[in-house]
């Protein structure tokens, strides 16, 4: 049975293998280039390396973000092109009536095919993630934001777990809808929804966040992405930690800043505004996940997706009896 599962995957595996080889070569070149760039920047900047490193970061930002985006969609793509046709294609071409009448039960047939396709898809994503994590590590060290929603899902082990889940989801959709193209579409749709829902609604609560307070210095304010009418702020960042939520701007006594004084500062130049707000001695209450929890979160989320994949596989096993 394993032979048949490999034989049926061979064509897709060859195509993906070629694409992956090209991608791997590019990632190796990029990784070496980034390391050279980092070496040069550090060698010449002495004590004040900030600007040199930031310029290196902005030089590679486009390329790294493109690769991140590619790795984000890889699990869904594998779910669509490897997972969805796994059963649906057999049902469409009628070959299920051939293969389910050999001496192998359809449960075993499905289990072996799912295992082989999952293993191959996990290897593809795993290699991609491994190379990207290695290549981008000098960049990531400068950006110090590996815990943020997008980057967390494109480094280390979680992409592999996403892939297994997406492939099983695709197979189940194919089994339920019995047609390949609708199954592919629904797989993409559902998995996209999961990839939006998990970082925003599930991941922050995997472990209870730590509460603390962050003083609003001029530097901190300059790095914010949004300052609202009601003294609400967004884009609060600190190296390596993940800010889950934060309060409005608060004064030393813990009350929301007086809005008139706040608005008084907002007019005028951006730099002057930051100075003006800093002079108010403001802070925000922050709920955050400290950086040392990074690996705990990687494993927890991996387990979550692998568990979901197993549950979906169980559902497919139950469903295939009546298919």
């Amino acid at each position: 049975m394993t032979w048949l599962a490999w034989r049926q995957l061979r064509a897709q595996l060859l195509v993906t293998g070629v694409a992956l080889a090209v991608l791997a070569a590019y990632l190796v070149v990029l990784g070496i280039e980034l390391r050279d760039g980092h070496h040069d920047a550090v060698a010449s900047c002495g004590d004040a390396c900030g600007p040199a490193l930031r310029s290196l970061q902005s030089r590679y930002q486009g390329r790294v973000q493109l690769l991140d985006a590619l790795l984000v969609v890889t699990p869904a793509l594998l779910g669509m092109f490897w997972g969805a046709p796994l059963v649906a294609r057999e049902l469409e071409t009628g070959t299920h009536r051939l293969v389910w009448n050999q001496s192998v039960s359809r449960h075993r047939w499905l289990a072996v095919r799912l295992a082989v396709v999952c293993a191959a898809a996990a290897a593809v994503t795993g290699l991609f993630s491994l190379l990207l994590t290695w290549a981008a590590s000098p960049y990531d060290a400068i950006a110090a934001d590996r815990f943020t929603a997008l980057l967390f899902g494109t480094r280390n082990v979680v992409p592999v777990a996403y892939t297994c889940c997406a492939v099983v989801l695709g197979a189940l959709m194919g089994l339920v809808l019995r047609r390949t193209v609708p199954a592919m579409a629904l797989t993409a749709l559902l998995f996209a929804a999961v990839q939006i829902a998990v970082p925003t609604a599930v991941r922050p609560h995997l472990v209870a966040p730590v509460h603390g307070s962050q003083a609003m210095t001029a530097d901190t304010i300059r790095n914010l992405s949004f300052l609202g009418d009601q003294a609400d702020v967004e884009g609060l960042r600190a190296p390596d930690i993940w800010v889950v939520s934060n309060s409005r701007l608060l004064t030393a006594d813990g009350r929301t800043v007086d809005l008139d004084r706040y608005h008084g500062c907002l007019s005028g130049q951006f730099d002057a505004m930051a100075q003006c707000l800093a002079a108010l001695d403001l802070h925000v209450d922050v709920a955050y996940q400290p950086g040392e929890r990074y690996w705990r979160f990687q494993w927890l989320e991996s387990l979550l997706f692998l568990g979901a994949g197993l549950a979906l596989a169980g559902l497919a096993m139950w469903r295939i009896r009546a298919a």
């Binding site: 048949l4 034989r7 293969v99």
Partner: protein, 285 residues
């Protein structure tokens, strides 16, 4: 119309001691509100080549797919070689309608598939058959002609050495020459394996040529079942049936030969058509 009393299921006495190749009891299958097979009770004795005949939509495919476990019954039971369908996969071979094969796999790949997926695979038998058919091992199955594809599907089903070989309209899409070749292969294979074969068809001439047991299905119900010779002995052609004769339809009469009525033997085709007429008449009422 299996189930209801008074309809002939002949040849039953002969085999009552052995395990039936296929036995159903009140078997019913609905698709939504449409009844594809209604209350079917049937016993197919082993060692026969059974023809399952009936018009399109009579429930032939449904019965055969129920028998190999591809679909589940709505009610009633079906036993294949004495066991539930799908539990004796190694002992039942199935050639599905339109004889599906993997278009991208070669002939050799199909034989390897059979070898890997069947513990009792007879590689020598398969190789002999492919050689006799003149199939190119490297040829992709998608490039084969309809007849060659059907032969390949039959080879894969037969080389697992099943005790029961089920074929669902295997020759419906083939030209006469390919049909003849397929049926010859079928008979040779069944003889060599010593297997029972159940073959559905709407072509009476094919059934007449290869089958020694007959099941007539119409309107989702079994109209007639029995060994061909027994059925032919039990029916007669009477040009003008006397009152009180058990008329099946038209001039076909069941039961002992009435004396002095100009009665003669009935042809198989005429007999089947008489029961089909009766069955579809009953079905539309």
């Amino acid at each position: 119309m299996c189930g209801a009393a008074g309809l002939p299921t002949m040849g039953r006495m002969v085999d009552s001691g052995t395990t039936a190749a296929l036995a159903t009891e009140g078997l019913t299958r609905r698709y939504g509100r449409r009844v594809a097979l209604a209350d079917c009770t049937l016993r197919v004795p082993p060692g026969r080549v059974v023809g399952l005949v009936g018009p399109n939509g009579a429930g032939k495919s449904t019965l055969l797919q129920l028998a190999c476990g591809l679909i589940a019954p709505t009610s009633g039971s079906v036993r294949v070689l004495g066991a539930r369908p799908g539990t004796r996969l190694a002992r039942v071979g199935f050639v599905a309608q339109d004889t599906p094969v993997y278009a991208t796999l070669s002939v050799a790949d199909h034989l390897r598939l059979g070898a890997r997926l069947n513990p009792a695979w007879d590689a020598a038998f398969a190789a002999r058959r492919v050689e006799a058919l003149g199939l190119d091992l490297r040829q992709r199955a998608g490039r084969l002609s309809g007849g060659q594809r059907a032969q390949l599907a039959l080879t894969v089903a037969a080389a697992k050495r099943p005790e029961l070989l089920i074929l669902d309209e295997p020759v419906a899409a083939l030209d006469p020459l390919a049909r003849e070749g397929f049926l010859r292969t079928l008979i040779e294979s069944v003889t060599e394996l010593g297997a029972t074969a159940v073959l559905s068809s709407h072509l009476l001439s094919d059934v007449e040529r290869v089958c020694d047991h007959l099941v007539v299905l119409a309107g989702g119900r079994v109209q007639l079942a029995g060994d061909v010779t027994v059925l032919l002995d039990a029916h007669h052609r009477v040009p003008s049936p006397p009152p009180g004769a058990d008329v099946v339809h038209g001039a076909v009469v069941r039961g002992p030969l009435p004396a002095g009525t100009g009665a003669g033997p009935v042809q198989l085709e005429e007999l089947v058509l008489a029961y089909l007429h009766r069955g579809t008449g009953r079905g539309t009422r």
